[in-house]
């Protein structure tokens, strides 16, 4: 039951989103009959779904709205898009209230809007009509898969019949009765959909089916009229409009919808937003993004179930490395034993399978970014209207896949960035014309894969960010001191806008400001082990580039030692590794640097600084060169441990007292590796320089050591002795 409920909320959310899209589409091309029809279908489906789940208020409201939309002239009525948008908001609010079990929001004003749309004079007729329709209607509920099969069959021009059989109330064995009807149906043609499903133990005395059959309806009726079981049989053709869920569109519409879905491949630039071209009428990829449930057979699964599988895969990987460790010990003890070779062959094979398994499971968690991007046309429209700006939204790469949990996490920051771009980045029309630009601003949203990362870009063609202004503002807000300010590079200056408490806008607008700054972006990215990069050109625009890992669960990392402890950094952050001696590390203005080829590389020392002396001078150290955006620095470590795939163990908040650690992992031999947070490191580095406290950063990681010890001891307890020494 709860599963069904969850499914409802998920699909209802999509429907509300679809309603938003369609309303905006209608706003752009008023009078477009196809869009109007599609909008009505959306409302109809939502009505059916919510009725099936017993959410009366929503289903009634949808019903009233749908009724109004039947009028021939709705497509022409100018207020429809506006009311549809309002309806989408109210529906969303209702859904939220249902989900949380809170008090339902007021629906009176929407109801009045709808009534006004129906009959400018009176609204009484709506209710009368509603009753009439209600009596005639019975909602049924096909599964998504069944619905798809129906839609496709109808589109192919097959004869699809909607068969409803009422079972005799006298029949004491309705399940057996339904079985007979199902058999009769199967003898007539292909059963595309059946409710209740085959094998269902529901004692329901009604069977509903979608049947593909060339036989005349009368024969189907006769065949299903099984004595002592069927009370009455209704056979209607399933074509344009039918009481099913969701409505299969008319054949022509189905064709065009399928085309639309197919025509939005990864690279297709989909235009959506205010005053965008009417893509649909020109036959180009439609503005309304395709419904995420593509043409394939889709299965909805609770994300938690996948997570638990992924956790198990993580444990397997851990077990693999434990086994590897054991094999190593075995090899040392019996170097000549033939079993050794066999062992490693088997383990290599197991490793390959494990790798495939891991990737397959991770793939399940991937969802197209479009799920998030679809929200933005509405947001851009609303913010644009509020600020009196004309903004066109271009979306690219909506099909790029990203881990669902990452996608959820970036929803808020991305929304914030989009609002910000429209509210602050893009100028008003007059200002743009004065600057010699088109009056209409453009906002681009893009996503693409790059190596092991996903890049998401929000870019506007607005006024750009003036670093000087940012510097002034940061000074006046007391975020930094004058002497620090002078030393910052341009990139570092721009990064200031991601600091908590920073705001460049002269006025806080209701939509963009909201009292939160862009620091939400920074903090979320830190949590996700991603990075933010800002690029700006005065008068030409700004690009925010988010780089995210594909998944949070497993990373390829470089492991190294600092003061006998193991740490790791994501492998892709490390550009190169340099080997050097302590004596080659020089001091410049209080911080360590290394001459690396022709560059002077600033260094960050993770451990405490060794005392000076001839012994220390010849000590070998490694420098990991970290490349992040345009910043490059080195990290001094004592020794390298190798690279590997680390399964990240979530750390609870109590055990983390420092932001320097983003996660922990356990190796096959039971040792704990702490995964360092790049962003925080970089932050320390920048601040360290700004504070001119470089040399006193000794023992940066001293605060981290207790974390490792506590994880170790709790793991030892959990695994018994399996973990080995440590």
């Amino acid at each position: 039951m709860t599963e069904l409920r969850q499914l409802f909320f998920e699909s209802a959310g999509e429907l509300v989103q679809k309603l938003n899209d369609e309303a905006m589409q209608l706003e752009k091309s008023p009078g477009d009959a196809e869009t109007a029809r599609s909008l009505r279908r959306t409302v109809h489906t939502l009505k059916g779904d919510s009725a099936a789940c017993g959410f009366r208020e929503l289903s009634e409201l949808c019903h009233e709205f749908e009724d109004v939309l039947t009028l021939e002239n709705t497509a022409a009525a100018a207020s429809v898009p506006e009311i549809a948008l309002r309806a989408a908001d109210v529906f969303a609010a209702l859904l939220e209230a249902y989900r949380k079990g809170t008090k339902l929001p007021s629906i009176q004003s929407l109801r009045a809007d709808i009534a006004r749309l129906a009959h400018p004079a009176s609204s009484g007729a709506v209710n009368a009509k509603k009753k009439k329709k209600k009596a005639a209607e019975k909602t049924s509920r096909w599964s998504e898969y069944e619905q798809l099969a129906i839609t496709q069959a109808v589109a192919k021009g097959k004869h699809v019949h909607h068969v409803v059989v009422q079972i005799d109330p006298q029949c004491a064995m309705p399940i057996a009765g339904r079985q007979m009807i199902q058999l009769a149906l199967a003898g007539l043609g292909e059963v595309l959909a059946l409710y209740p499903a085959e094998g269902s133990l529901d004692p329901m005395k009604r069977v509903e089916a979608a049947l593909v059959s060339e036989k005349p309806a009368e024969q189907i009726r006769a065949k299903c009229s099984i004595p002592t079981i069927a009370l009455n049989v209704r056979v209607t053709p399933l074509r344009a409009e039918a009481p099913s869920h969701p409505l299969p569109p008319p054949a022509s519409a189905a064709d065009s919808e399928v085309k639309d879905e197919a025509a939005s491949p990864v690279a297709a630039e989909v235009t959506a937003g205010i005053s965008a071209n009417d893509a649909a009428s020109t036959g180009e990829p439609a503005a309304a993004p395709a419904v995420p449930s593509g043409p394939d057979n889709v299965l909805r699964v609770d994300a938690e179930r996948i997570d638990s599988v992924l956790n198990l895969v993580g444990e397997l990987i851990l077990a693999k490395s434990m086994l590897q460790q054991t094999l190593l010990e075995f090899g040392q003890r019996f170097p000549k034993d033939v079993l050794r070779g066999k062992f490693s062959d088997v383990m290599a094979f197991q490793g390959r399978v494990l790798n495939d398994l891991q990737h397959s499971v991770m793939k399940i968690r991937m969802v197209p970014v479009d799920q998030l991007f679809r929200r933005f046309p509405r947001i851009v429209r609303d913010v644009g209207l509020q600020c009196g700006k004309e903004v066109e939204l271009m979306v690219r790469g909506g099909q790029t896949d990203l881990d669902k949990s990452i996608l959820d996490a970036i929803a808020e920051p991305l929304t914030h960035m989009v609002r910000n771009a429209v509210g602050h980045g893009i100028e008003t029309a007059e200002e743009r014309v004065r600057a010699g630009k088109r009056p209409q601003g453009t906002l681009r949203l893009g996503a693409y894969h790059q190596g092991n990362q996903v890049v998401i870009e929000v870019s506007d063609d607005g006024r750009g960010i003036d670093p000087e202004k940012v510097r002034q503002r940061a000074l006046s807000q007391g975020l930094l001191k004058a002497e620090q300010a002078a030393r910052l590079t341009e990139t570092e200056t721009l990064d200031l806008i991601l600091q908590p408490g920073f705001s460049t806008a002269e006025e806080i607008t209701e939509l963009s400001g909201r009292g939160v700054g862009l620091d939400v972006v920074q903090s979320v990215m830190g949590r996700l082990k991603g990075t933010v990069q800002i690029e700006t050109a005065r008068g030409r625009g700004t690009t925010f580039r988010l780089r995210l890992p594909l998944t949070l669960a497993i990373i390829r990392a470089l492991m190294f030692r600092v003061e006998q402890r193991l740490y790791a950094l994501p492998l892709n952050a490390v550009a190169e590794i340099a080997r050097t001696f302590e004596e080659d590390i020089h001091q410049v203005e209080h911080y360590d640097v290394l001459q690396l080829r022709n560059d002077v590389l600033p260094l960050l020392r993770l451990g405490s600084k060794p005392p000076r002396g001839p012994e220390t001078a010849r000590r070998k150290v490694f420098v990991l060169v970290i490349n992040s955006g345009d910043r490059k620095f080195g990290v001094i470590v004592d020794g390298l441990e190798g690279e590997g795939e680390l399964v990240i163990k979530a750390l609870d908040d109590q055990s983390i007292t420092t932001d320097l650690v983003s996660g922990a992992s356990i190796l096959g031999d039971g040792r704990v590796v702490l995964i360092l947070n790049m962003i925080a490191l970089m932050d320390r580095f920048t601040r360290g320089r700004a504070d001119a406290s470089g040399p006193r950063m000794a023992g940066l990681l001293s605060s981290v050591v207790p974390v490792a010890s506590s994880i170790e001891s709790s793991e030892m307890r959990a695994r018994g002795t399996a973990g080995g020494q440590a």
């Binding site: 004491a172 064995m173 399940i175 057996a176 079985q179 007979m180 199902q182 058999l183 199967a186 003898g187 085959e198 006769a222 065949k223 099984i226 004595p227 002592t228």
Partner: protein
């Protein structure tokens, strides 16, 4: 007992020939009397599934009324075996309400219809009429795999 119009075989107008399978003699007699009022002819009886199969092979009846719970071989299995050898066999399952799942299983294996115990003559009559109806779709097969 009310009077029923006789049900005849559509191909030659002869009386419908029945095989009645039930482990209770009383139940068999009761059913036999009932089908006789429909103008039917009971050509054989069996008290368990195994003899039901051999009796079917020997007699080739038009209709089998088959009980579900019987010693040696249950009705479902017997029905399945008969239908496998004789796809055109018309088997009507007879059972009490508690065995609904078995009925579903029997239907999936090729039984044509079912009646509930205690059997009401008017219900059985309708069922017989339906099962004997020759509308060109007598051979099934679609059902067995479904």
């Amino acid at each position: 007992m009310e009077k029923f119009a006789p049900v005849k075989r559509s191909e030659d107008g002869q009386p419908v020939r029945y095989l009645i399978v039930d482990d209770s003699v009383f139940a068999r007699k009761n059913l036999a009397r009932m089908v006789e009022t429909f103008g039917g002819q009971v050509i054989g009886e069996a008290g368990d599934g195994v003899s039901a199969i051999s009796e079917y092979d020997r007699l080739m009846p038009d209709i089998v009324l088959m009980d579900i719970t019987m010693p040696q071989m249950e009705g479902i299995e017997a029905a399945e075996k008969i239908v496998r050898d004789h796809p055109s066999a018309r088997i009507v399952m007879v059972s009490s309400v508690g065995y609904q799942e078995n009925i579903v299983a029997a239907l999936q294996r090729g039984a044509r219809h079912f009646v509930q115990k205690p059997v009401k003559p008017e219900v059985l009559y309708e069922v017989i009429k339906y099962v004997m109806r020759d509308d060109g779709t007598t051979t099934r097969g679609a059902g067995a795999g479904a």
